[in-house]
């Protein structure tokens, strides 16, 4: 059974700084997803990574996948307040497993 672990669970950053969220998973997964959730809201899809070495970027966020290490990263570049949210990674096929989430707070 696939298990997904994220770290850190809480992250407080200053604006303008860079940081990385890590997502480790326990068994082979064909896909790795990253989602964003604002407080009291639904989940918004950020990235779907399908193959080893895949890298996707959108604005200040960049996600990568290393299937050999069973590791995905979400890198935040020059953080801004608007990036404050909870970020989830998830793996699997249709029977998807989510990490516990990383609550990111970006402070001025």
């Amino acid at each position: 059974e696939l298990k997904v672990e994220q770290n850190p669970l809480f992250l407080s950053m200053q604006e303008g700084k860079n940081y990385t969220i890590y997502c480790n998973y326990s068994t082979t997964s064909d896909r790795l997803y990253w989602y964003r959730q604002d407080p009291g809201k639904s989940l918004e899809s950020l990235f779907v990574l399908l193959s080893n070495g895949a890298v996707k970027q959108e604005g200040r966020l960049m996600a990568s996948l290393d299937t050999k290490a069973r590791l995905s990263t979400l890198h935040i570049t020059a953080a801004v307040h608007d990036l404050s949210a909870t970020y989830f990674c998830a793996g699997g096929n249709n029977d998807m497993r989510f990490g516990a989430g990383t609550r990111l707070t970006v402070k001025p």
């Binding site: 997803y33 639904s42 899809s45 990490g99 516990a100």
Partner: protein
């Protein structure tokens, strides 16, 4: 373009009552999913469906029943609600194949007293 909707958005029920949460999507997506979200657990899959009349258990199916008679609807029923089922429930849908993205509904906040 309604997308994916859930009803009710908020529900309070008593222990032992039956309650049904509705999910409707207008995209004709083949796959539909039900998740629950609890603090510290992220999201956990309850059931999913690949097409009308095809359903499969997810990670936490006990205490829940689903059906899918039409492609666009995927109701979730708690046959005898318990306090441990107090949660936020999200429905999602996706197409078959790439890009494999799941699109989430707005959620239903259920409280069992």
């Amino acid at each position: 373009d309604a997308g994916i909707t859930q009803s009710p958005r908020y529900k309070i029920t008593e222990t032992g009552r039956q309650v049904t949460l509705m999910c409707h999507q207008t995209w004709s997506h083949s796959y539909m999913f039900w998740y629950r979200q609890d603090l510290g657990h992220g999201l956990r899959l309850i059931y999913y469906s690949a097409a009308a009349d095809i359903t499969d258990k997810g990670e936490v199916p006990d205490g829940y029943v689903v059906s899918r008679s039409k492609t666009e609807n995927f109701p979730l029923t708690l046959e005898s609600a318990t306090r441990s089922q107090t949660s936020v429930y999200f429905c999602a849908s996706s197409v078959i194949g790439a890009p494999y993205e799941q699109y989430f509904g707005p959620g239903t906040r259920l409280t069992v007293t």
